[in-house]
């Protein structure tokens, strides 16, 4: 049986059990009904000042020690970004070769001085706020991605997917969210009568019961799914990218199979570089850049239906500490990658690094609310109209024009 037939057959089976969702999805001609937004979350607070460096800024070059900054010249020189902000010469970290390539091809838009305008320097708090789509704490447990899906009421069989293990809080409250890490083991091999009985056993209305029934549906749907990465995707074969490659490969496979994924999240860990950033950072950046590029190639013709947002919970301090690391900071870079992105230019407003321009006199200030960047993707590519439903209390939406009309 061909792959496509199998999926349709499966979906038909599911339709009897739940609602005939896939058929609705297939009939809708609007391309925004297929578009998928992938959030790559760099956990730990990426040092945006070394990833997208204001390298021509004299103060930056002064306060940062060698190895914690991007050089203007020499063998370790950063990759120059045209159309930068505020008359400053920005450079990508030299290990971000693939990102630079995307930028030059006009597919990658780079924001700077973005973030959560709350002031918290706590990972825990910052992530909990961002994942719930908030700026100030509110008694809302639901995640922002969950609200996007409620708003879209998508018809696909796997509308929301996380592939890094667990379920990020952004998805909380959307019960059709699916967590899949490894398709090759996503099955309940032995004792084939079990699923039928489990469905009866988990018949209640608790989160556990509902998730269990959803899992049984997904098992049926993905029974035949295996990652079939094209060799040309060329995932980097290094120990430090193996895990992230796996998450990307699973996601690319699911997108190629056409399950109607609208929102997805992939986590990248290890960015909390308080110590010896000199040593860790090149590996982290090189891994992210090459693995993300492989994912993008892996999408094949589906890449026209995918927009990738790269973000983190906060940036890092301008000055380094005495252990060759950087402590928790504030404003940061965000990136948007996609075929319809008006890339090759930087967006946002650069506040500068002079003492009076810094937040609290120590950290890069924030001039672009993270919700404006996400909001622009949601509105333009997913067709979400009411952004204040996604981000409660968000009325100051300022699109930057990152998508071509």
């Amino acid at each position: 049986m061909k792959r496509r037939e199998f999926i349709v057959g499966c979906a038909a089976g599911l339709a009897l059990l739940t609602t005939p969702r896939l058929s609705l999805f297939a009939l809708n001609p609007d391309e925004r009904d297929e578009h998928c937004c992938v959030v790559v979350f760099l956990r730990g607070g990426v040092d945006g000042l070394q990833l997208v460096a204001p390298s021509s800024d004299a103060f930056y070059q002064d306060v940062r020690v060698s190895g914690l900054k991007v050089a203007e010249s020499g063998t370790q020189a950063g990759l120059l970004l045209d159309n930068s902000l505020g008359g400053i010469g920005f450079r990508l970290h030299p290990m971000a070769r693939e990102l630079h390539e995307f930028y030059r091809e006009g597919k990658l838009a780079i924001f700077h001085a973005c973030g959560l305008e709350n002031g918290t320097r706590s990972h825990f708090e910052a992530m909990a706020l961002i994942e719930r789509g908030l700026v100030e704490n509110q008694p809302i447990q639901q995640g922002w991605i969950a609200r996007v899906l409620d708003e879209l009421a998508p018809g696909g069989s796997l509308p929301a997917v996380a592939t890094s293990g667990g379920m990020p809080q952004s998805f909380s409250g959307y019960t059709a969210s699916t967590s899949v890490t490894d398709l090759s083991t996503f099955s309940l091999a032995a004792d084939h009568d079990f699923p039928r009985l489990l469905r009866k056993w988990y018949s209640g209305d608790s989160q556990l019961d509902r998730t269990a029934r959803g899992t049984l549906d997904t098992l049926k749907l993905l029974a035949d799914s295996r990652v079939q990465t094209e060799a040309s995707a060329n995932y980097p074969d290094t120990w430090y990218t193996r895990e992230m490659n796996g998450h990307f490969q699973t996601l690319a496979q699911l997108i190629r199979e056409g399950h109607g994924i609208r929102m997805a999240m992939v986590d990248s860990l290890g960015w909390d570089t308080h110590e010896d950033q000199i040593h860790h950072f090149p590996r982290l950046v090189g891994g992210l850049s090459s693995s993300l590029a492989a994912f993008y190639r892996d999408l094949g013709r589906h890449r026209k239906n995918v927009t990738v947002v790269v973000m983190s919970e906060f940036g890092r301090r301008l000055r380094c500490n005495r252990s060759f690391g950087t402590d928790h900071g504030y404003g940061n870079t965000m990136m948007v990658l996609g075929e319809q992105v008006r890339g090759g230019r930087m967006y946002g407003r650069w506040p500068g690094l002079s003492q009076d321009a810094l937040d609290r006199g120590v950290d890069l200030a924030i001039t672009t609310d993270y919700r404006s960047v996400l909001g622009e993707v949601l509105r333009q590519k997913l067709g979400v109209q009411k952004l204040d439903r996604i981000f409660p209390g968000f009325t100051d939406f300022r699109p930057s024009g990152i998508f071509s009309a």
């Binding site: 309940l188 091999a189 556990l208 899992t215 308080h274 500490n321």
Partner: protein, 526 residues
């Protein structure tokens, strides 16, 4: 066993065994709690497993996997001795061996969770390891310190005094490396430890008054030296207070020779000696060695917000994800009343475990992945030798034992552990244990020996095992279904006959049935 007895035991063990129920039924809950809070010696059999048995250890050398069997050789050694033996040097083993103390700690922790009669203590070891999370995945040097972290820092204090535990942690090489205080020096200091000390170890993120950023005088109580919350400046100042709390690794300095022991070391030349202000309290310039840090620990350990934060976590661990405020308040009272007593934590646990709110919290907690496996083994009477494959599987299920990617530790709320990937792996784990465990020789389960011989018919068989595994009576339709699936084709034969003639077929069926009961919603809870 009544659902109530099951519940009580289930909550303070890694799965009650038949003999635990019997003991509880004999002595009653109050006495049972008193016993658990005053643990005695470990049984001889467990001591032998730790001291004499050998365990498989697999590692890669130049990309080739090597397997060897070895006894636990590093668990009992001091850090100084471990580093002397393991540091890469001519004649010493290679770098991979630095992970052995960590690996041995994992083995010991599983052995104790499986076999120690002092189950509540083991649950508290897990609690404090998560509260004071240290991940060996940051660097191999941390793995080398892990046995000492478990044996010297965490275990002696799990039922003791919080202030003592806090200082032990602040001076533990594993923590000093993990949160970078080992490399923090004046100036600017490294803030990593100081921030997590406030946010995760003591007062909690809820006491972070970030909106007041640098206006310390506006923090309520600060002018009286009793600030009710902390701001970034407190973090900065506390970071300064802990400069010099490091690990002796032969730091180069003129005219001064720092030893190379890997042990905690106070390095005065790295300390920032000038005046600081933390939570509205002034720390004077040029105090004695470690005085600044100790004063910060005092302020934090005895802070009412800390009492509230830690006790809420304890109640979350033992009562419910959202514990009733009444039990939290009562336990906070005990915590504060005993804050200078060596039995502070023990007294607090007693309050929680004897509270009426605890007694009625059946089904309010979800087993974390490690707990699920441990309970399966303990409650079915299977034999598990701690093994890399089990640790790996548990990690794939999302539980990071000593390898947590975030300093917050493994979450203790059900919703984190409930998603399609995690749930599927929970279901898969029982057949996987049997499949991989049998192949690699670390799992053995004689289910017929665990089934009383007097059970004569399939209905009783089913009833016996469900009662042993879950607290609720099965709905009739599920019971009927189970009998149909597993025993319909055997129904014409008696169990006695099958035991004699075809024990393997019988055993296979009973195992399948037990595994399925363990996949039920009830077994997911603790």
């Amino acid at each position: 066993m009544t659902a109530q007895l099951y519940h009580l035991l289930n909550r303070i063990t890694y799965g009650p065994r038949p003999e635990d129920r019997q003991h509880l039924a004999e002595i009653g809950w109050d006495n049972y709690v008193a016993e658990q809070l005053n643990p005695g010696e470990e049984p001889e059999a467990l001591r032998r497993m730790i001291q004499e048995d050998v365990y498989g250890w697999r590692f890669d050398i130049n990309g080739e996997s090597t397997q060897m069997e070895m006894p636990l050789t590093y668990y009992d050694l001091s850090i100084g001795e471990i580093f002397r033996r393991l540091m890469p040097a001519p004649g010493n083993p290679a770098k991979y061996d630095l992970r052995r103390p960590f690996f041995e700690t994992l083995i010991v922790s599983w052995l104790k969770a499986l076999h120690s009669p002092w189950q509540l203590r083991e649950l508290m070891v897990e609690f404090w390891h998560n509260h004071f999370t240290v991940s060996v995945d940051i660097e191999d040097g941390i793995a080398a310190c892990y046995a000492a972290y478990d044996r010297e820092t965490i275990r002696p204090n799990v039922l003791g005094n919080f202030r003592t535990l806090l200082e032990a942690v602040a001076q533990a090489p594993a923590m000093l490396h993990y949160l970078d205080n080992a490399v923090s020096r004046a100036s600017p200091a490294n803030e990593n430890f100081a921030r997590e000390l406030f946010e995760l170890h003591t007062m909690g993120a809820g006491s972070y008054y970030n909106h007041l950023y640098d206006e310390w005088t506006k923090v309520p109580g600060a002018l009286e030296g009793r600030a009710e919350g902390y701001i970034d400046e407190d973090v900065y100042e506390a970071a300064r207070a802990f400069t010099g709390w490091t690990v002796a690794i032969n730091q180069p300095h003129r005219d001064l020779s720092v030893p190379d022991s890997g042990e905690f070391y106070y390095f005065d030349l790295w300390h920032d000696p000038y005046k600081k202000r933390v939570l509205g309290v002034e720390l004077k310039s040029h105090q004695g060695p470690m005085e600044d840090g100790r004063q910060v620990l005092d302020l934090l350990a005895y802070h009412p917000r800390t009492a509230h934060f830690i006790v809420t976590k304890l109640c979350r661990w033992l009562v419910a994800d959202d514990p009733p405020q009444s039990v939290v308040d009562q336990a906070v009272g005990t915590w504060i009343a005993h804050q200078r007593s060596p039995d502070q934590i023990k007294a607090t646990l007693r309050t929680i475990l004897l509270a009426p709110e605890f007694a009625v919290s059946l089904g309010q907690k979800l087993k974390r992945p490690n707990h699920l496996i441990l309970a399966f083994v303990r409650m079915t009477g299977a034999q598990l030798t701690p093994h890399e494959s089990v640790f790996w599987w548990t990690r794939k299920m999302g539980y990071h034992q000593f390898t947590c990617p975030f300093p917050t530790g493994n979450p203790d709320r059900a919703e984190f552990w409930i998603n399609s990937d995690a749930l599927l792996k929970r279901w898969q784990s029982f057949p996987e244990l049997e499949r991989i465990g049998a192949a690699e020789g670390f799992f053995d389960w004689d289910v017929l020996a665990e089934t009383p011989a007097e059970i004569a018919d399939f209905a009783s068989l089913l009833e016996y095992w469900t009662a042993r595994l879950i607290p609720t009576v099965l709905p009739a339709r599920i019971r009927a279904e189970l009998r149909k699936i597993f025993f319909e084709d055997l129904a014409t034969r008696s169990i006695a006959e099958l035991r004699r003639r075809d024990p393997e077929a019988l055993s296979r069926r009973v195992k399948q049935m037990v595994r399925l009961v363990c996949m039920s919603p009830d077994f997911q809870k603790r």
